[in-house]
Symmetry: C2
Subunit: 202 residues, 2 copies
Amino acid sequence: MKAISGFPTKQEMRDHKRREIVRCASEKFGTEGYENVPLDAIAAELGVTKAALYNYVSSKNDLLMQCYEVGMDRLIASVEQAMDMPSDTAAERLRIALETYVVTMTRKDMQYLWNDIRPLLAPGDKRSVQTSRDKIDSLFRAMLQDGIDDGSLRADLEPKLASLVILGAVNWVGIWFRASGSKKPQEIARAVVSDAMRGYLA
Amino acid sequence: MKAISGFPTKQEMRDHKRREIVRCASEKFGTEGYENVPLDAIAAELGVTKAALYNYVSSKNDLLMQCYEVGMDRLIASVEQAMDMPSDTAAERLRIALETYVVTMTRKDMQYLWNDIRPLLAPGDKRSVQTSRDKIDSLFRAMLQDGIDDGSLRADLEPKLASLVILGAVNWVGIWFRASGSKKPQEIARAVVSDAMRGYLA
DNA sequence: CACTTTGGTTACCGTCGGTTACCAAACTTG
DNA sequence: CAAGTTTGGTAACCGACGGTAACCAAAGTG
């Protein structure tokens, strides 16, 4: 192997191509809907044939999973970043993280995660999918626990139950939200999060 | 027309057959998943050919819509019944209605409404589907308003926003709930509804 | 320079939603 | 009751699409 620095290795090339496929698919799924995007369309847009895609993904469903993973990673990253913002109480950090979560979720290229993908992954329930979900769940549960500890949230809340209720309320936004509405995502996020958290404040 | 009483008219026969198709489809969709049930399978179970179904439904999607309608009607009926239970305050009636809603939704034959159907009906958004949803929404908003009026709920809550938040929390149950879990639906309903409503109590 | 590996193509298959042509039995009507 | 006509079904087929098999050219390798 030559290994002149700066030249991508074969493995890097391969991975780059795979990511490009996922990126292209993600865009088309998001705008046209999973069911309405034949693999031929994705292949054509990339200038190859459908069969070529199967060098990088094992099935159309697998491709969807990879799109899901990318989206979830972005969601997780945005929440983690919001969690690190300085604030007086854990409750305040939780509020910021939740609002960020909602705003990220209402982005056009994120919406289909909740409407198209989630229902389709019930049966196989690939490991990576469950991992993303658990990650988000644990982030919020940790914040809830912090809130109990520093007294900014009710001492008698159950983190497990509370995270289900709160995440239910905010995830639901991703389902009914349509960009055509008059309210801006930031406004919606503030209102929904405020209401969803109220019952848990100390 | 003979019209001897007790003999079904042609229209009744036709409608009865249509309902039988929907019932059969609903059961198969619920247990095997919409995508995994070919029309041939439904037709075979009814002892006819696929083409015969098209005398009663206009497409597979239309069949799914009709399943949705039946399920939603059942959901609405159960909530309306719960609303009529005698209780001291509007908040208490709301609690009972919500718990009933959750319990009904976790029934095996209702679950797929939320996981399979809802995502698929976004584009066409048939009128009847929107109607069912609006109906449920208006029922809960009315209860919220009653609660404001009789003082059992916070006077400053916005019914529109509150119904989205609360319904989000409870609808989410239909998505993560699996009958295999250890908790009974009734317990889950009580816990979730209690938490979801807490922030709105006066 | 053989020879294997990689990444692609063309051609094809099976499934499935949906349609068309047709047919038999049940109504309708003069 | 005989002659249309409507109804509800069948058999055969079509086109779209996910996925596969056979093959091939170019790059990598000893």
